[in-house]
């Protein structure tokens, strides 16, 4: 499976929430086959402050219209620039990168997304549905503003919602949602979101005896396994999230088997 560098053209830039944009982009030639969980390294156009490319999960792929979409949360200068790009802008992207979710699973599966972590789950839900699965999807955020793309998810999945402030869905963290009481009834959990959430989902899945795959969001430079900057500690040693992930089975991740604070390796000065 080969990677391509494309000058994509933004066909549509819609704003599903105050901090979120969906960029629907047309490929200049036939889209390569993409798998849910894979990502693209996107160059921020004419930017002096965003030197490196930005990695984004593939949010949706439409082979008929030859389009690929990215869900972008505006958090820094790079993502803010990308979110404000008008239609017609050329977006240079390297894709598809990394390894995605395992698709051959027994039903039922539960998808868990937090904040911008829902990005790869729409493509995953659509692909699973296409393969005949019934998909259950729990989406969480800090508040209602963080729950985006809900109508799109509802087209393909049974959707459950949760917010930390209770402005939409059940109140609390995703792992406090009532669906988690029925976790043992699922065969597999696929999750993407902040590391603290992923660790909590991993622990709950382990306790329920359910297999769990998570998509990690480590900072990257190259995205193709050359710089070795984005590593995660696995049972086999440090591994690149960009090439051996971003999706990992939590059993392969070192230190994810017991409760702990989100790892922060940086010393306090």
């Amino acid at each position: 499976m080969s990677k391509v560098i494309h000058d994509l053209i933004i066909l549509e830039n819609r704003q599903p929430g105050p901090e979120y944009h969906v960029l629907v982009c047309k490929a200049p030639e036939t889209l390569p086959v993409c798998y849910p969980g894979q990502f693209a390294e996107v160059a921020v156009p004419s930017s002096t402050h965003a030197f490196l490319r930005r990695p984004f999960s593939i949010h949706n792929v439409d082979y008929q219209n030859n389009t690929i979409s990215f869900l972008i949360k505006m958090v820094g200068q790079g993502t803010r620039t990308l979110g404000q790009l008008p239609t017609g802008t050329v977006l240079n992207a390297i894709y598809p990168l990394g390894k995605g979710f395992s698709l051959n699973q027994a039903e039922p599966v539960l998808l868990v997304g937090g904040g911008c972590g829902i990005a790869p789950l729409l493509f995953l839900a659509k692909t699973l549905k296409l393969n005949g699965y019934t998909v259950h999807c729990l989406l969480g955020g800090r508040s209602a503003d963080d729950l985006v793309e809900i109508p799109e998810f509802r087209e393909t999945a049974e959707v459950y919602l949760t917010t930390e402030d209770g402005t939409q869905g059940e109140k609390g963290f995703v792992t406090q949602h009532s669906i988690f009481r029925e976790l043992a009834g699922f065969t597999r959990v696929f999750a993407c979101g902040p590391e603290g959430m992923l660790r909590a989902v991993a622990l709950a899945s382990r306790a329920a005896g359910v297999s769990c795959e998570v998509s990690l969001e480590n900072n990257m430079a190259c995205g193709i396994g050359a710089c070795l900057c984005c590593v995660v500690e696995t049972r086999k040693g440090n591994r690149c999230v960009c090439t051996e992930g971003p999706v990992f089975n939590v059993l392969d991740l070192k230190g994810w088997e017991s409760p702990q604070e989100v790892a922060d390796n940086c010393p306090v000065i």
């Binding site: 390297i94 190259c222 396994g225 710089c227 070795l228 940086c266």
Partner: protein, 301 residues
């Protein structure tokens, strides 16, 4: 067509564009994007005698026109390199140069000696300038005595082209260059990354797990140009220019400053095709300036 070929000691390069160690993996990471054989040479990721896991995450910080890294020489060690990586490198039809690193002189010598026996490795680049390891690395490259000592020790066991990669984190890079030349180096490459730091103001913590890291990218280019110019004036060995090269104009500037060849590093992360773009751009420049060879530019300032 202008002649892009150049020589570095015993190495004849088809063109002066190579890739910097640690920014190009083992080449195959880029084979979807460019024809590896079109490069003047590939300096592969550093090899140490024993496997190294490198430093904990986070290892990277984006900065103004550049980035910091503190990878810490993660590699699978010499035996793995010889058994599993070398056979793949043999398929690539250009100069493959091994970057040799270590925490002791014995470690450097062991790796260099083994590399000497691998036919398709046509040269080694001695890394005495990595700022991200607690022992060895930059420690060897920041003192005249130890730079001389490690170069001399490796020279004894390595008969092919010996390149030594210099650290910019010194008071006088010319003094180190002279010492390395005295130790028997054939070629000098410079610069490695500049020791630097990034802080997350919101978290009130350093960004990198190691606190400090190495700065690379366009931000370091003027420093690198100055050092290449100083060293090439002071030492008779051929010089390979490294530091923030992103396009053909950057490369030309290094030739003018005295570099016989260049290495492209961080720019590979942003544009995996940047090396072939640079080769084409150098050709265009030579045509535009009515020059027959790239060698005519070298050291003309």
């Amino acid at each position: 067509m202008p002649d892009l070929s150049t020589t570095l000691h015993q190495l004849s390069l088809k063109n002066p564009v190579m890739t910097a160690s640690g920014t190009f993996g083992y080449g195959k990471e880029f084979s979807d994007f460019i024809d590896l054989a079109s490069l003047g040479g590939i300096i592969v990721k550093a090899t140490t005698s024993e496997p190294r896991e490198g430093n904990p995450y986070p290892r990277m910080a984006e900065t103004a026109s550049g980035m910091l890294n503190s990878v810490g020489l993660q590699n699978k060690g010499l035996d793995y390199f010889v058994k599993h990586i070398y056979p793949e490198l043999q398929q690539i039809n250009t100069h493959i140069i091994a970057n040799v690193s270590g925490s002791t002189i014995e470690g450097y010598v062991e790796v260099a000696e083994k590399m000497a026996g691998l036919d398709h490795i046509t040269a080694i680049e001695l890394n005495i300038s990595c700022p991200n390891v607690k022992q060895g690395g930059m420690a060897f490259g920041t003192s005249v005595t130890s730079a001389l000592e490690v170069t001399r020790a490796v020279r004894k066991v390595y008969p092919k082209t010996l390149i030594v990669k210099l650290s910019p984190n010194v008071t006088s890079i010319v003094d180190i260059a002279r010492a390395v030349a005295d130790g028997g180096a054939d070629v000098l490459s410079l610069i490695n990354t500049l020791l630097a730091m990034a802080i997350d103001a919101e978290k009130r913590r350093p960004v990198l797990s190691t606190v400090t890291g190495g700065l690379s990218g366009p931000a370091v280019k003027p420093v690198a140009l100055r050092m290449v110019w100083q060293v090439s004036k002071a030492v008779k060995l051929p010089v390979i220019g490294i530091g923030g090269i992103c396009n053909a104009t950057d490369a030309i500037e290094f030739f003018l400053a005295g570099a016989s060849a260049i290495q492209v590093g961080t720019a590979n992360f942003i544009n995996p095709r940047v090396t072939t773009d640079i080769i084409k751009g150098i050709e265009d420049y030579l045509l535009r300036h009515n020059l027959q060879t790239v060698r005519e530019l070298v050291g003309s300032i």
